[in-house]
């Protein structure tokens, strides 16, 4: 079954005629994703290697039945692009763009939670269900079909852990990059609940980092609501307080949001936390055997 992205995904790519948009739309299609449309204002009627381009997301959805949108536009246009995608009625929006103002995301998030659509990201690498399809920018060669779900705030760390899993012969049902911003459309809990309901996922790896309290909330959720085992990794033990570590959301504020605090919160609820990516893969192997 996998979650979020599978054989039923019909993808429209916003910003498809940009350099990155074209490159990744075609890569997603090459992996097997059904890329049905692209959007670039003023370029309706053109095509990108056979993918029809529309002026608006609404036209693309009406013309092709797209049910998923990927946002690939620069930050100053991305807020509008997310609202446009939501208003077109698609079920899922995946926003890759990094650099959207936090206040914009606060308003988008509040609007989103009053409906039943899903937003992944922003500032994320997207979603891949190995062997079924991908929406985003993940290097597909790192992943193999399997029964471990993976949810992460970081792109490259996801690839690193997936490689460690591959070395042990372990593949994934779905891998979700939820994004490195302070406010993202889907939290760890949102994705954990989908994995819990997925009969093709036997275990979940949750990759967190400093900043905010979503890992702590997830720890509570896992202990109360999940029968699927969870293994975790937290990055940023060496991060000094008050400094933003690359991701807009990776910052320790006062004494809250530390890696140590997150690790302790998870371990207090019985979640095993690996000290490095290699050990995480070993914990997964041990938990599955």
């Amino acid at each position: 079954m996998a979650i979020l992205v599978d054989g039923n995904t019909k993808l429209v790519v916003q910003g498809i005629t940009g350099r990155e948009g074209t490159f990744h739309a075609l890569r997603n299609r090459a992996y097997g994703t059904n890329v049905v449309a692209g959007v670039t204002p003023g370029k309706a009627g053109q095509d990108v290697e056979g993918i029809p381009v529309f002026d608006t997301v609404r036209d693309a959805v009406e013309g092709t039945g797209a049910n998923t949108a990927m946002v690939f536009v620069p930050p100053r246009f991305a807020t509008d692009a997310i609202y446009e995608a939501l208003e077109s009625g698609v079920d899922l929006v995946v926003c890759i763009t990094e650099g959207i103002p936090a206040h914009d995301m606060l308003r988008i998030y509040t609007h989103l939670k009053r409906g039943d659509q899903t937003l992944i990201g922003p500032n994320c690498p997207g979603v891949i269900s190995p062997g079924k399809g991908t929406v985003g920018i993940m290097p597909t060669q790192v992943f193999n079909p399997g029964r471990v779900g993976l949810v992460s705030r970081s792109g490259t760390l996801t690839y690193q852990i997936s490689k460690e899993l591959a070395l042990l012969g372990i593949g994934q049902s779905t891998v979700v990059g939820i994004g490195g911003d302070p406010i993202v459309g889907s939290s760890f809990i949102d994705i954990l609940s989908r994995f819990e309901a997925d009969d093709e996922t036997d275990l979940v790896v949750m990759v967190g980092e400093i900043g905010g309290n979503e890992e702590e909330k997830a720890a509570e959720y896992i202990s109360q609501n999940m029968s699927t085992p969870v293994v975790s990794y937290i990055a940023g033990f060496q991060a000094p307080p008050g400094k933003q570590m690359g991701h807009a959301g990776a910052i320790i504020t006062g004494s809250s949001g530390t890696a140590q605090g997150k690790k302790e919160a998870l371990e207090a609820k019985g979640v095993r936390v690996g000290t490095n990516p290699t050990e995480v893969a070993e914990l997964v192997r041990d938990a599955l055997s």
């Binding site: 302070p182 979503e214 690359g246």
Partner: protein, 381 residues
Amino acid sequence: MDLFEYQGKQLFARHGIPVPSGEVAETPEAARSAAERIGGKVVVKAQVQVGGRGKAGGIKLADTPAEAEEHARAILGMDIKGHTVHTVWIEAASAIVKEYYASITFDRGEKKPLVMLSAMGGVDIEEVAASNPEALARLHVDPLTGFQAHHARWLVSNAKIDVGAQKGVVAILQQLYAAFIDLDAMLVEINPLIWTESGDVVALDAKVTIDNNALYRHSDLAEMQQSVTEDEQERMAQERGVTYVKLDGDVGILGNGAGLVMSTLDVVALAGGRPANFLDAGGGSQADEVVTALEVLLSDTKVKSLLINIFGGITRCDEVAKGLLTALDKMNATLPIVVRLDGTNEEEGRKIIAEQAPDNVVVEQTMLSAAQRAVELAKGA
């Protein structure tokens, strides 16, 4: 991006929040003439982005312009918790009746702005929150409907603000919320917010943090950023658009992706080493960007060995290898460099290094072995 008090006060004034009249001075002489223009008693305040200025001697009352000059001479150049004072703010002294506290934070846990108000201001508010939580009125605001006058009245009533000051505080809370939104702020804080003998409510301090992602729509604020960065490498990185944070160790780190770089720092520490920095070369790095990043890293003389940890997704390992060779060629760096390349075009990247790199560059196969090697080399250097 954190602003200085005087910058925050200038922004508050623009949003209609009353602040004492004042001027910036960078020399004792300028402080004297500022005090002459302001007239009467003035306060000389060190401009540093760290708490506890008063206790450290960075805030002084002056009865005359000559005294203001004297205080400025003592304060300018002073080191307050590692921050050098380059600027003082000279402002008219206020006749304080009561000190309150007001702030709006970006509560990412609740995903709403959080407005806080207390009648116990002028002290560490975290202590008030811990020892006397009822003294701190807290209200989350719906981001779509915003902060209304009735919210301000509720806060004022619950914080037990003195009746004579209530109207002024209600007005300031509304202006503060407008400033929070208009400025794309992550934090606006007034501590203390004072009630004066003349019955006015005035912001005696200003702490403002702006969302870096929103600077594109605030060109005036983006200019303010220039005066903030102290560290040489951090300033260099900022000018060149490199994501860099200085730490105090001797193993230089370059990686791609925030999470992987944070993890690299942790693994270096677990191997018994001390990372010198965080540096995220970003996704899709080309050779030129790697050269720029290495220039920043190698300008730090504390760095004894370098660890380059790349997992190629959009980033191609051969581009990273080419960038490394170009940088080494240009800078003639002789310190030991450990490289670990994985992912897209890893074979090509390793081949370039094996065939063309000088002897001080070694390749390791895994992140853990690379971290161990870099730590050993830093200790041996």
